[in-house]
């Protein structure tokens, strides 16, 4: 062994953080930017192919921008759409980190939202300060429990969560149809499946209605931001998050290290489901005011894309969710102004993920965008 000072020197150098490499930058910034740009171009080609003329295409992109960023209302809509996407996306991202591919966010959103509604109107006499948070919590708990079913099955029997969560989604749709017909839940005087309304005291207050009553942005925004911070802390600072990540990267090593794999799976699934349930709750308490069949509107599926685009990192998911929220709000404007179907947005979203999830593909298509010695990715 060498003398003390040289050991200290060695330790100091070991503890020096390495600078972020070019490849990491490409991965985190260049590829996503690329993906979005290419997907938009492809969207344009699709429009051309379906006989939309150039002027209308131009108009639709203007509308896309205007509808997502162009006004207070646009921004409000973008953020409103982003809230559930980010919340559910955080859950999925956390699941991905733990090696769980949870396709079931949709069902968790549905049941979580329904639970929040039921809790809300059941205890309608409680004051706002109690009822609103508890309703959110009810949504989170039910979403978490529903997801935990898939987790428990995986932990106990090895049943693959992709299949079980797909099945749980299908079950949740039927379950919701059934629940919404129950006299206790169904809105008075209605024969169709629709729940009673959420009382005012359970609603997430709208933030900007003093400006304009049509601005729907609600206090779920703060729930979303808090969730971003919380998930970041869980993943990268907490002990349980360490176990999540270790299990996700190498379940054998996690088991060897004494992490109870079953517990980790159930906990990760539960947390993911709780976030999805929260997404559903914030949607009903902040936007819809009641539950109806399919009120989740594919939030759970879009959130998969959001989590992938955000690289399962809480901050990435925040940005990705806002981007997708913007696409949704802008897409609506696109339909109004240019008469281009909002389904175009789904195509663009799918393409974004293709390029994100297959960086090899991006590199194959655009070899000149990568691995150059020059700094920065501005050549994109």
């Amino acid at each position: 062994m060498s003398d003390l000072s040289s050991i200290n020197e060695q330790m100091r150098s070991l503890l020096a953080r390495t600078a972020r490499g070019r490849s990491e930058f490409e991965d985190l910034v260049v590829v996503p930017v690329f993906a979005v740009v290419v997907a938009l171009i492809f969207g344009m080609l699709v429009m051309l192919a379906t006989g939309v003329d150039i002027a209308t295409i131009g108009k639709s992109f203007v509308a896309l921008a205007k509808g997502s960023l162009g006004s207070v209302n646009a921004l409000s809509e973008t953020l409103t759409a982003a809230i559930p996407l980010v919340l559910a996306g955080l859950g999925l991202g956390l699941g991905f980190r733990a090696g769980l591919f949870n396709i079931g966010a949709e069902g968790q959103v549905l049941l979580g939202g329904t639970a929040a509604v039921i809790f809300g109107f059941t205890f309608h006499s409680l004051p706002f300060a109690v009822l609103m948070p508890l309703s959110l919590l009810a949504g989170a708990i039910v979403g978490g429990l529903y997801a935990a079913i898939a987790g428990a099955l995986k932990a106990a029997t090895g049943a693959h969560e992709v299949i079980t969560t797909i099945m749980l989604n299908l079950i949740s749709f039927k379950l919701l149809d059934y629940l919404l017909r129950q006299p206790y839940i169904q809105k008075e005087g209605r024969a169709d499946p629709i729940s009673k309304s959420v009382p005012d005291a359970a609603q997430l207050p709208r933030l900007l209605d003093w400006l304009d009553p049509n601005l729907r942005l609600h206090a779920g925004l703060f729930v979303m931001l808090a969730a971003v911070v919380l998930v970041w802390w869980i993943l990268f600072r907490s002990k349980i998050g360490f176990a999540f990540r270790a299990s996700g990267e190498n379940p054998h090593a996690a088991r060897y290290a004494g992490m109870k794999s079953g517990l980790v799976i159930v906990a990760a699934m539960g947390t993911a489901g709780a976030l999805a349930g929260l997404a559903g709750a914030s949607q009903v308490l902040g936007v819809l005011g009641r539950a109806s069949p399919g009120f989740s509107a594919d939030i759970g599926f879009d959130a998969i894309a959001v989590a992938l685009l955000g690289r399962s990192h809480p901050l990435g998911i925040l940005f990705a969710g806002i981007l997708f929220g913007g696409l949704e709000a802008g897409g609506r404007q696109m339909q109004v102004d240019a008469g281009v179907s909002i389904d175009l947005i789904a195509i663009i979203q799918a393409l974004i993920i293709v390029f994100i999830a297959a960086p090899l593909l991006v590199r194959a298509i655009f070899p000149w965008g990568f691995a150059r010695k020059s700094k920065g990715g501005s050549e994109v």
């Binding site: 050991i7 060695q10 330790m11 150098s13 070991l14 503890l15 020096a16 953080r17 390495t18 802390w233 600072r237 907490s238 002990k239 349980i240 360490f242 990540r245 270790a246 990267e249 190498n250 054998h252 090593a253 996690a254 088991r255 060897y256 290290a257 004494g258 109870k260």
Partner: protein
């Protein structure tokens, strides 16, 4: 058939696996190819068999250059390879495995399994392999599986057979039988490349030897005129002694007592069968045995990864049969797992994270529900210095380290703590000699500090070199025990016990 490799170079990323290798293989001759792990032997043979294509250089068969696009071309040219990790489909029968790729077919692509069976039996007869054609591979013992591999190669009428570390899974007696098969193949005019890192095997069976180091051929010669020491020096690049320096053990109180332990596999088969054993403090106990005789299950049961179906495990006087992995860990049990990539580390995690992989929840690394990262980083840096883990930073992913440094990282994590019992499973598999020596000395150091040390290894040389006492495991039981003070245990008797013969010593 003669084969010549000229100037073969192969790179994986920035690593040069083969660097201008020249090699000649002749019919009716056994060429021994010797080298440490990572010297580039397997890469070269994969190039020869067509699995990889070389970046530079050429292959000549009987003087004519050939280019292999894929393994199919290698087979076509008469080159067959028996891989170190068997290339058999477990849910297929022997016949199906053998004919895969060269299937006898009828009309409409109909797979003529009857004909396949007949052809398999024919070769069976010819070389005396005795392999049942209709049994599923997963139901066959390892030794027979290897014969299936040879059968596969012969079925394709290979003239050049490449045998990659074929003896790793065999008992000494099975090795003898295997050498018999090799000799009969040689007599039939086949060219054979025998790859190993075991010196005595080279001397026993090969007609010519080539030694590889760091991707190059560093020496060639006639085994009759070479000694083990010569070969070892060529292989490592410096004189090495294969004996581990250690004092006579002073066994103390029993650290680990296993009694009547039964462990089941996933399919309810019995892996460990009413096993009894003791490891005392201050001694190294080695478990010898052919892979697949329940060693892994035994280690898993002791460390808490597998459930004991019945029996008792006592650790330093405390019954830990139903303790969790974590409880055993905090009681002072250290575990160096048999496959570091699979279970010893998380490649994408930083070295620092790996250093606390199984202690992150304890003081001083945890505070409340969170992890105290500055402490973790400092500790990791200290461990790296102490155990000579060579890396520029503890923030790099562990996957970036070389194999030897990865294993040193694992050993550092396990041995830096206060431990009472060290369980090391295949602690030096796949490492270079330098790392092997280093890890061996740390294990002996642990013993000298009063730990009980249990070594499980399929390398009999390693067991013989390290252990004070040797237990032989066969079919889930300890079938023999040998005192190895001063390395005096009878290698031949151990070999017999490994093959299941019980007339030696009783457990």
């Amino acid at each position: 058939m003669d084969v010549e490799l000229r100037g073969i170079t192969k790179r994986f990323g920035s690593v040069v696996a083969n660097d201008g290798v020249n090699l000649t293989i002749r019919g009716g001759e056994v060429l021994g190819l010797l080298g440490e792990n990572g010297a580039g032997k397997s890469t070269m043979m994969n190039i020869l068999s067509g699995l990889y294509s070389p970046d530079e250089g050429e292959i000549l068969i009987d003087g004519k250059p050939v280019v292999f696009q894929g393994p199919g071309d290698g087979i076509e040219a008469g080159i067959g390879m028996v891989h170190q990790h068997f290339m058999l489909v477990p849910v297929f029968t022997v016949a199906e495995n053998v004919v895969l790729g060269v299937e006898p077919t009828g009309r409409l692509g109909y797979l003529d399994l009857k004909r396949a069976r007949a052809q398999v039996d024919e070769i069976n007869q010819l070389y005396g392999l005795h392999v049942p054609a209709d049994t599923l591979i997963e139901d066959l013992p390892v030794g027979i599986q290897q014969r299936v591999e040879i059968l596969k190669v012969l079925f394709r009428q290979a003239d050049v057979l490449i045998l990659d570390e074929p003896t790793a899974v065999l008992t000494p007696q099975e090795v003898e039988e295997f050498f018999g098969i090799v000799r009969s193949l040689k007599e039939a005019g086949k060219a054979i490349v025998f790859i190993t890192h075991k010196l005595h095997e080279i001397l026993e069976v090969s007609d010519r030897v080539s030694v590889m180091r760091q991707g190059r051929i560093v020496g060639e010669g006639d085994p009759k005129t070479l000694t083990e020491a010569d070969l070892a020096e060529m292989m490592v690049g410096r004189p090495v002694s294969f004996t581990v320096d250690k004092t006579v053990a002073e066994p103390g109180r029993p650290m680990l007592e296993v009694s009547d332990l039964v462990v089941l596999r996933d399919n309810d088969e019995i892996a460990v069968d009413h096993l009894n054993m003791v490891v005392k403090s201050g001694e190294v106990v080695g478990i010898a045995g052919v892979q697949g005789n329940g060693q892994s299950a035994l280690v898993e049961a002791i460390t808490g990864l597998a459930r004991a179906a019945s029996g008792k495990i006592v650790f330093d006087g405390k019954d830990i049969t139903h303790f969790s992995v974590r409880q055993r860990h905090s009681e002072g049990m250290a575990h160096i797992p048999e496959d570091r990539h699979k279970s010893g580390m998380v490649s994408s995690f930083t070295i620092a994270e790996n250093m606390v992989l199984n202690s992150y929840y304890e003081k001083p690394y945890s505070k409340g529900m969170a992890i105290d990262w500055p402490t973790v980083h400092k500790t990791a840096a200290k461990y790296c210095v102490d155990f000579d883990v060579r890396t520029p930073s503890v923030f790099l992913p562990a996957g970036n380290l070389s194999g030897g440094n990865q294993q040193k990282m694992v050993v550092a994590r396990e041995l830096e703590r206060q431990t009472k019992l060290v369980i090391a499973s295949q602690p030096t598999r796949g490492l270079d000699v330098g790392s092997i020596e280093y890890i061996h000395s740390r294990l002996i150091e642990a013993r000298d500090e009063g730990d009980g040390v249990l070594i499980v290894s399929s390398e009999l040389d390693e067991i013989m070199g390290l252990s004070d006492r040797i237990l032989v495991m066969f079919d889930g039981r300890i079938v023999a025990e040998f005192d190895n003070t001063g390395g005096k245990a009878d290698r031949n008797a151990i070999g017999l016990a490994m093959a299941g013969a019980t007339e030696g010593a009783a457990a």
